[in-house]
């Protein structure tokens, strides 16, 4: 390619920058127009991408429920309202605003357990996870981290380390986080990951706390609703 003197010349570049005072309305008009155009573009892209984003979030949640309840044949949403679990909300309430838990059923219609999503601070930021809980045996069915910003390579082992995640399957509540070397084989025990103590403890704490809060509600629901 040859030197492109015609186009590559100092077109405008060497020209002195605006010497003349620019009237204020032009400054405002420029920024205003640019802002309005930016707004339009963003709204346009937002409208275009939003369905995919919402759908993906719902899909992630649905898969997570499947996973922590070990493949239920189906599940229902229960709303935490007025201190009880209700299958339906009174009309006029926004379902998005109410805490929801999910109850999974086996093929024959019997209850497998409850999937509960909960969030609490971890090491860096809020950890949001979902876990399955079998209220008949008082055991955790499975745990999956939905959202976390824990340190990559360390803290994110709470979602990526399968030997840590696997321990939750069948663990009895309340869970106790222990150092791997001190474990006694008790079924309440969860081995903490070396170097990831705060994040692993947070996971155990989140599950214990939300069961402490929702456990009585689940009992009440089981007692009243199933017969």
């Amino acid at each position: 390619m040859t030197v492109d003197g015609q186009h590559g010349g100092p077109t405008g570049a060497g020209a002195a920058p605006h010497k003349k005072e620019v009237p204020p309305w032009r400054l405002l008009a420029t920024l205003g127009t640019a802002g309005a155009m930016a707004g339009f573009l963003i709204v346009f892209v937002f409208v275009a991408t939003e369905p995919a984003i919402t759908e993906h979030k719902a899909e992630v949640l649905r898969l997570a429920i499947q996973e922590v309840l070990k493949g239920p044949a189906g599940f229902d949403t229960l709303y935490v309202h007025d201190g009880t679990l209700q299958g339906q909300l009174p009309p006029g309430m926004d379902a998005e605003q109410v805490e929801q838990i999910y109850v999974g059923y086996a093929e024959d219609g019997s209850k497998i357990g409850f999937a509960i999503a909960s969030a609490e601070p971890g090491f860096q930021d809020i950890i949001r996870l979902i876990f399955g809980y079998d209220s008949n045996t008082g055991t955790v069915l499975g745990m999956k981290v939905l959202e976390s910003k824990e340190t990559p390579g360390l803290g994110d082992k709470i979602e990526k380390d399968s030997s840590f995640v696997g321990q939750f399957d069948g663990a009895s509540i309340p869970l106790i986080g222990v150092n791997a070397r001190r474990r006694t084989g008790d079924e309440h025990e969860i081995d903490m990951i070396t170097g990831v103590t705060i994040s692993s403890r947070a996971v155990v704490r989140i599950i214990n706390n939300s069961l402490e809060r929702l456990g009585p509600l689940i009992e009440a629901y089981n007692g009243g609703g199933s017969q």
């Binding site: 620019v22 573009l41 991408t49 995919a52």
Partner: protein, 218 residues
Amino acid sequence: MRATTPRQDFVRGIWQENPVLVQMLGLCPALAVTNTVANSLAMGLATFFVLTGSSLLVSTFKRFIPHEVRISTYILIIATFVTIADMSLEAIVPDVHKALGAFIALIVVNCMILGRQEAFSSKRPVRRSLLDAFGTGIGFIIAMLMMGTVREVLGNGSFLGMSLFGPNYEPWVVFVLPPGGFFTIGFILLGLNWVERRKKHKPMVREWPEGVASEKAA
């Protein structure tokens, strides 16, 4: 200002004036999200998109942007593209979006992008600005991949998630943590400068990006 050929506009940014490795711009994402190759690549591509889009718009509308509000206007344009990239990534590749987290939004403050607008696109024709943006963007991706490869291979024993050394490899965890970013960039720069110096047998003459010199002179 020295005239450049279109070819130079393109090639320059890739190596000779690589934004990260030579100009030392955009170090924040280069240190923060390069802990895996996949993240580095995604971040590089997102930045490439924002840079190209912004350069296109800035050079198209340069005549209408008064000198006094040019920086605010550039930032507005850049921020718009970043928001678009953010939402598109979340819709198309949610997993990558999740991994990059807040750093997508922080592309807005990447000096490399604003620097190219101020130094180049605001003064050149659209075609040249695009070539420059392509070159700089590719240079950024290359630098990100260099960082990401070193850090993932050493810190996690894998490349793009594929295990390289088998289960007995004890990962050098510090390399995926923030200090590892500093070590890596330090050693890469050391190596590059050393090679450069050996090649030339004379003190390095570093060319400033076009425009910086004239700005200073003005």
